[in-house]
């Protein structure tokens, strides 16, 4: 009798821990195999017309299936009409970019409508949009700070003030430009002059292009919004538009950021707000945020139920640029690392034609010359580095931007 009880007790305890493990197994996440084969192709419209006098742009593309790539919308007829009878035509450039034929600027108290006729004959029209007021970005500055995770870095802040209290709803984006210096650069490069069955000829020549100093370029990848609703003044103070970690390679040398401020209409602002909300996932396994198609302001004139992604904005904008150097913020600190880990190698030249490692690497553009190998390390005659370390053009452009000041 006692034996039986004991046996059962073991069973119970076993199942307790089993149950506990299951509690932890609750909510296991596995790949979902039935990825919907249904792909919905919709027109994607992106355009901002501002008060700046320039050739404005309209970007047209199509949504693409998962794993697919950007699909420009070609051969569309694009124009912007205002309610004063002006029509601004756009010409197709490349990659879905349509550029205004002439320079123009959006003016106050005027409604603008984007009109698109696609190659398949469909006609699309935006709701009329207008400028709210002029934007005024008072000050752009950087300060040493910490992020939410307690990491040190540089915060990029703006101050903005509209005495007329009309702006209220702001969106920001930025472009960052930073100087890149290839750490293992040499003025020379190795070339294969010829390769024969048993002989080959390598030569070291001066590099033909600038590969030591380049300029990297990036843009804001998230939607940055802020408003002054509920405030007594239409004033933004020390609003952080960007944060760069102290160990970010972009800070290794000189860094510059251009912040653009857009004053948005209520509809435009809430569109971006929704887009922002939905691109943030939910953490809770038991509940899933309700996703859905986000309505823009463009409609098919013949079929109002067609979904069109994107938005046609008319906004006033203002921009500011600042430059900053790592040492101005972190005097005495170690510089941030380079983008890549850099290793020196000395590939050998032994082998038959077509099988000589160094030559093959040069052919395939996978190495850059660093220096002659005078017994520094085992291997071939040259010490080579990866292009990332010996050639800055892997990370940026070797053309100095016109705004750049040292």
């Amino acid at each position: 009798m006692i034996k039986t009880i004991k046996f059962l007790w073991i069973k119970i305890t076993k199942s307790i821990s089993l149950g506990t493990y299951i509690l932890l197994l609750i909510g296991c996440v596995t790949p979902f195999n039935g990825v919907p084969s249904d792909f919905e192709e919709v027109l994607v419209v992106e355009s901002i017309i501002t008060q700046e006098y320039k050739k404005h742009e309209v970007f047209l593309s199509r949504s693409y299936p998962f794993g697919g790539s950007f699909t420009p919308e070609k051969n569309a007829v694009v124009q912007v009409n205002d309610d004063r009878g002006n029509t601004y035509t756009f010409e197709e450039k490349s990659n879905g970019k349509y550029l205004a034929s002439d320079e123009f600027s959006a003016s106050q108290n005027t409604n603008y409508t984007l009109n698109i006729t696609t190659a398949d004959g469909e006609n699309y029209e935006s709701k009329p949009q207008s400028l709210i007021t002029s934007a005024n970005l008072d000050r752009l500055y950087a300060e040493k700070t910490y992020d939410d995770f307690g990491r040190e870095g540089i915060g990029i802040y703006i101050d903005s003030y509209d005495p007329s209290s009309k702006s209220k709803l702001y969106r920001f984006d930025f472009e960052e430009t930073y100087k890149i210096v290839a750490p293992l650069w040499s003025p020379y490069d190795a070339v294969v002059v010829n390769e024969g069955r048993s002989t080959f000829d390598l030569s070291v020549i001066l590099r033909e292009r600038e590969e030591q100093v380049c300029f990297g370029y990036g843009t804001s990848s998230s939607i940055i919004l802020n408003n002054t609703l509920g405030l007594s003044e239409d004033r933004l103070e020390k609003f952080q538009v960007h944060f760069i970690r102290k160990d970010d390679p972009k800070l290794q040398h000189r860094y510059s950021i251009l912040v653009r401020q857009y004053v948005q209409s209520k509809e435009t602002y809430s569109f971006f707000e929704t887009l922002q909300g939905l691109s943030q996932g939910s953490e809770n396994i038991f509940s899933e945020d309700q996703p859905g198609f986000i309505e823009g302001n463009i409609l098919n004139t013949n079929n109002s139920s067609e979904n069109i992604a994107g938005y046609f904005q008319v906004s006033s904008t203002d921009e500011e640029r600042i430059f900053l150097n790592f040492n101005d913020f972190f005097e005495g600190s170690e510089l941030p690392p380079y983008f890549n880990n850099c290793n020196l190698t000395a590939p050998i030249t032994d082998g038959t034609r077509g099988n000589r490692p160094l030559l093959n690497l040069i052919y395939q553009d996978e190495v850059r010359f660093y220096q002659y190998n005078f017994g520094v390390m085992e291997g071939g005659p040259f010490i080579m580095v990866s292009p990332e370390c010996g050639d800055c053009t892997t990370f940026g452009s070797n053309k100095k931007p016109s705004f750049w000041v040292e």
Binding site: F66, N284, D289, G292, E295, S305
Partner: protein, 918 residues
Amino acid sequence: MKKVILLILVFSSYIILGQEKENYSFIFSNIYLKDAILKIEEETNFKFYFANQWVNDEIKISQSFENKPINLILDSILKETDLNYFLKKDNQIILTENTVIYNELSSGFFNENEKKNRSKKQNSAPFLSIRKAQQKEIEIVRVTIGKTIIGEEKDSYILKGIIRNSRTGAPLENINILVKNKNLGAVTNQEGFYTLELPAGINLIETQALGIESIKRELVLYNNGILNLNLEEVTEDLDEVILSVSALKNVQNASTGTNFLESENTKNIPLVMGERDILKVATTLPGISSAGEGASGFNVRGGKSDQNLILLDNTVLYNPAHFFGIFPALNPFAIEDISIYKGAIPARYGGRLSAVFDIKSKIPSKDKIKGEASLGPVTANAVLEIPIKKNKSGVLIGGRGAYSDWVLKSLNDEKLNSSTANFYDLIVGYHHDISKKNKLSAVAYLSKDEFSITSDSLYGYNNRLINLKWEHQFNNENSVRLKLSNSNYKFGIDYDGSTTSNFRQQYKIDEKHLKLAFTSVINSKNTFNYGISSKYYTVAPGEKKPLKSSDLTLPFKLNNEYALESGVFFSDSYKFNEKLLIDAGIRFSFFNSLGPKTEFDYAEDQPKSVYSVVGTNDFGRNEVTQTYGGPEFRFSGRYLITDTFSVKLGYHSLYQYLHTLTNVTTASPIDTWKLSDRNIKPQQSSQFSLGVYKNFNDNMYELSIEGFHKNQENLLDFKTGASLLLNEQIETEVLQGKGMSYGAELLIRKNKGKLSGWLGYTYSRSFQKFESQFREEQINGGEFFPSNFDKPHDFSLVMNYKFTQRLSLSSNVIYQTGRPVTFPVGNYSFNQSEFVLYSDRNQFRIPDYFRIDLGFNIEGSHKLKKLAHSFWSISVYNILGRNNPYSVFFVSQNGEVKGLQSTIFGVAVPSISYNLKF
């Protein structure tokens, strides 16, 4: 044909009257009654019919009669006995015994309208069948009701009485009283009271109830009378899996779409980790479903999960689940039963659109200590019933807790150590029978949950309920119930994952409720239910404060909201005739949103948003900011085609002034409740239902088919990407639209035999529609689209097979169409980023749900003298280990969008639990 019978009746009654005029003389000196009767038989033409045991009394007769009519002689010699007599034509005299209650009639029983003289033939007709019954069913106890009073004979009489639990003395509700081979039946009300109009003479009645013994009585009815019964609980048997208390109730009562479940009888049904859950069992009934294993709440007939009125002893239970709906928040041992109304909601209930889940806690035993305890893989549970004053008062104490957290902590694994999941619930009930006419009860309930699913946030929520109930019986016909209750639900989230921005966020809703309900039995055909009810709400919609002194989180608090919800109701259950029963009611429902509050006005020509505010209105304390309300109609009618076959029609309309705010696809414990105000209108619904009900094979099988069509107005939904927490102007994120659902529900039950259980199948659709002049306030272009819980096919098979009295095997088979979801249908680039393009709302479905559970139950031995009764339950949930996705979502990983599915129980979950009852 009818006319012919009538003629015979009139003729025969004349003969009887004529016979009475003949006179006789007898002298009885100290002889037994039997001998006296034999003497009369010998000396006259009369022939007596009687059972020997009736006249075996030691009573001796010494009387003399000279030239007296036979009825006078019989009156005299039977005076001291319980015997009645009847003179029939052909000089037959039939004696009958009336042993039980004799003339114990309250004045209300004699309905003046019914005092019409009837033919005596009809009274006497049943006697011909007495012997037949005697021979056939000897074991049936015969009860004679009343004594014929000459000149007041009727063709039918009223029988009434109270049915009580013989152990506790508590009145038994929902006991079915059936009249064999007649189109008649009654069901006891909350007070255990029933009335039944029966034809005079022989009636075979039977009580039917689940978990309660079934008794039969042969009634011989000579007049109005009372039959009180004390029934015993049947607990030692291994119960069959049966969900409804009474066999014929589904055919005989008036309302469509009602179900009844007793907690005890759900114990054989295998459920996850052996946790008995009466509400989970309810989801196997047609028309009730949940969005998935991890979803709190239920969807009833295409309604949202916030539209269910879940009552524990008449007090709203805001969250009836522990740990995201996986475990029940109610202690199964402390729960007596649950009544579910999804078709015709009675007028006494109001405030939620879809269904009422009326859960009753157990009435504690008042004569001996009883208890029940269990040990399962997740929880330990114990309930005690302790009498305070014998047969007067008792208390019920129950506690239940999960010890999973304790196990988690004791395991030597870092990952397991950092997760927590903990919950408990407590219940205390006190019942006091002050007198026969006054009863007092108080129940308090508390539940608390704490869990963390991500390492940096801790979630907690709790329910707190208190209620007081006083019942007073003015007389057998009139009673009143006064109920006072308070319900409180709150949740909090502690975020502790950063250096300077930790916070604690809280939400709370509190309601105080007063209800006065009367029941008046006007006559056997007519019963009134009426009363008033009022609720005062206090909602603290949101508060955020720093968790530690180092946190920079700005303290923020939304203003409290206040409101008053009231109702006045009246309903009349009227029995037109044996076939037609109508229950019609009306409820006037009112809602006042109260200050202090600031209400915003929005421009009408613009979509509602924080940017379209055109004015504000400030209201002072208790100032009414907005009033809503109107009449709600409730109707249900039943027409009996045969005594086991009926057709029912139901209609109800309702208002609901509370809404849950959720922008996730399924219900979760951190959904907040929002009161209606100037900018958020109350939800409304109306539903028609029609059903046919048929019992077969002496109620062994029950079949019902019901159809319904429901329309809803002002359902709440949200703009895509709405932010709901701590939002001061929630109306700017809200859309209000229409709902439409329809369906057909089939339920087949087998109630008796080795194999018992039920099969439920529902075909139903549920749609919503949000249209507006503004495209941003539309969903799917303002067209109807399937709701998040639209599951067209829903099939459940629940079976129990009894091998012996002690061993049984149970199984569940569940199949459901996958719920609709919104899938991404591509990518696009915009604003220098890649975005996922979503389809219109709910254009896809997750894979269908399919699950089989098995359970094996071993009942302890049935020795009478055994101290305690034990019960083992071994079960495997999801025995196929099928990976039923609960949700499907898409993430962008390395520039590639990947589909992932989350599963709550993707493996077979075995469990064993031990129950003890004494």
